[in-house]
Symmetry: C2
Subunit: 196 residues, 2 copies
């Protein structure tokens, strides 16, 4: 019984279903039928709206990225000092919305898939660059440029590393501990400089 204006609702439902399916299976090896089933529609409809599976996956990654970007913008707006900006960027990556098992699993899976898909790789590179420049925007106010660059690189690596370890359910158990770890690193790096 077709009601008009279904398209945006179905697209959203299918993308949500994709994330939860990936999260449960822990990889992109989910079938279109599985995803469609979770969204309460047939696989034919998923193809109708997204064309190929690749595009559904791409749209899903775009959605995750867009949410992260929005959260990041919000967090940066409410940070007044350079130091606060750095902490805000870190905190967003471990917020309740971002640091969920499904989202983490999706990130990891997409990282792997990016090695095959050029489109996905481009998306992830854009995110990486944005993360770096966001971190830098805070750090350059405190450290000399080339050292700020290093610290930004290390912080980004720490974030990714803590995501991976969380996916393995080994090592750092929760977001608070993860944040504390990175903040500890930043504190030693920044307080040291400011003390000299």
């Amino acid at each position: 019984m077709p009601k008009i204006g279904m398209e945006p609702l179905r697209r959203k439902a299918l993308i949500d279903a994709t994330i939860s399916a990936i999260g449960e299976r822990g990889s992109l090896d989910v079938t279109m039928s599985e995803i469609a089933g979770r969204a309460g529609v047939s696989s034919a409809l998923a193809h109708h709206y997204f064309g190929a599976k690749d595009e559904l996956l791409l749209a899903t990654m775009r959605h995750i990225l867009a949410e992260l970007t929005a959260d990041m913008r919000r967090a940066l707006r409410s940070a007044s000092t350079a130091r606060e900006r750095v902490s805000a960027v870190v905190a967003v990556n471990f917020s309740d919305v971002q640091f969920r098992p499904e989202t983490i699993a999706a990130w990891l899976a997409f990282y792997v898939e990016a090695q095959k898909s050029a489109a996905l790789r481009r998306l992830l590179k854009v995110y990486a660059r944005r993360l770096h420049s966001n971190l830098l925007s805070g750090l350059t106010g405190i450290l000399p440029r080339n050292e700020a660059d290093r610290v930004a690189e290390a912080t980004a690596a720490l974030i990714d590393g803590l995501y991976i370890r969380r996916a393995l359910k080994d090592g750092v158990p929760n977001a608070a501990t993860a944040i504390a770890l990175i903040e500890d690193y930043l504190e030693t790096k920044l307080s040291r400089r400011s003390a000299q």
Copy 2:
């Protein structure tokens, strides 16, 4: 034309072929025929020696892990002080043998697969624990126990994070830079404590 004693040679060749195939494709989505072809045999032979595909993949991960463990032992043997032991553990992870594109891709792919395969997950957890205790064996000589634990956790996260970023071919470009980044972190962490 069968010659005796082929089994160990074929096993080795198949495992090597698996690593190079995974490295090239960037994921575990490689067919048995592809792997067998690279090893110069038929896919039927691969099944003959390894049974199922899962077991070939598992054997491959075991092989990578065994090599890393051997390298680690060697490096630790030639380190005399606690501080040197820490650096040795870090260095091994970025040695020419370990920090190759194929090996990195394989690691990443296996991390993802571990979410599906319990056997693989067990393997990776063993590795994670060993890495942690190796780092700790050096750090406990310098830092109080609970802080040593934290630093070990952060170092492990940095290693994983730098692997991921290398896989994306973005960020840190080479092993030397990666090592410098981690050593810089360790130096600030350790020199600070020893100065107090």
